[in-house]
């Protein structure tokens, strides 16, 4: 009993560390991502990592109210990705440059 609970808390710590690392790597892709769909995809990935955080915190504290927030966050991430996809199409139809820094959007950030 005690050994299994120690194992669970240790694995949750390791999982939180892995999730933090993947969060940082994904944020790097959001910052350096050369095109708009790369950034949208990385934001979708951030939602996934946030779901992982919610699950880990939910196991660690036994506080299951965050599970509803997880479902709502997944819904919001899905709708945001759909809306951004429509935005990508309409932006290209307006004749905006595909890769920033070509002519209009002065310099990539």
């Amino acid at each position: 009993m005690i050994a299994s609970e120690t194992f669970l808390s240790f694995t949750i710590l390791v999982a939180l560390a892995l999730l933090s690392l993947s969060f940082l790597v994904t944020v790097c892709r959001v910052v350096i991502g050369p095109t708009l769909p790369d950034r949208i995809l990385a934001l979708d990935m951030l939602v996934v990592v946030a779901l992982g955080f919610i699950a880990a915190i939910g196991i660690k504290t036994g506080y299951a109210l965050y599970l509803d927030i997880a479902i709502a966050l997944g819904l919001v991430g899905f709708l945001a990705t759909v809306a951004f996809a429509r935005f990508v199409i309409s932006r290209a139809a307006d004749g905006e440059p595909l890769v920033p820094g070509n002519e209009m959007e002065g310099g990539s950030d």
Binding site: V14, F23, V25, T26, P37, G52, G74, P97
Partner: protein, 130 residues
């Protein structure tokens, strides 16, 4: 006894899920173009978060929590392919180029495919509106 099994199973599942999330993030930063990055983010990332929610469902003793976690898993399994496919298709329709070493572009228009040489099927005309 069942508590011990629950704890060990949840620990293993949450490590697996976090490992898949890390693999997805590494793939997101290492792969060359938007279409191959979409593979990493949609498949490995969704599997990671679903496995971690399954760990939460395993360790919980309340039926309401288990049901909600499984509903969340089902919801993500339904919506993640849709959003990834929609984003990739929008990027293709907007004219974002494939990686230059890609060997096959099956969505290439048929008229172009007729006239391109069979040795280089990946050659795709630039469709950027300028």
């Amino acid at each position: 006894m069942i508590d011990v099994i629950q704890n060990y199973l949840a620990g293993v599942l949450i490590i697996i899920g976090a490992g898949f999330a890390l693999v997805a993030a590494v793939g997101l930063i290492r792969l060359p173009d938007i279409y191959s990055r979409s593979h990493a983010a949609s498949k490995a990332g969704t599997l990671g978060s679903c496995v971690m929610l399954l760990a939460l469902a395993v360790v919980a003793n309340d039926h309401a929590i288990v049901t909600r976690a499984l509903a969340g898993v089902l919801f993500f399994l339904l919506t993640a392919p849709i959003s990834a496919h929609l984003l990739a298709k929008a990027a293709y329709a907007a004219g974002y180029q494939l990686w230059e070493k890609s060997v096959l572009d099956q969505m290439e228009p048929a008229s172009e495919e007729k006239k391109t040489d069979t040795k280089k099927p990946a050659k795709r005309k630039s469709r950027s509106k300028s």
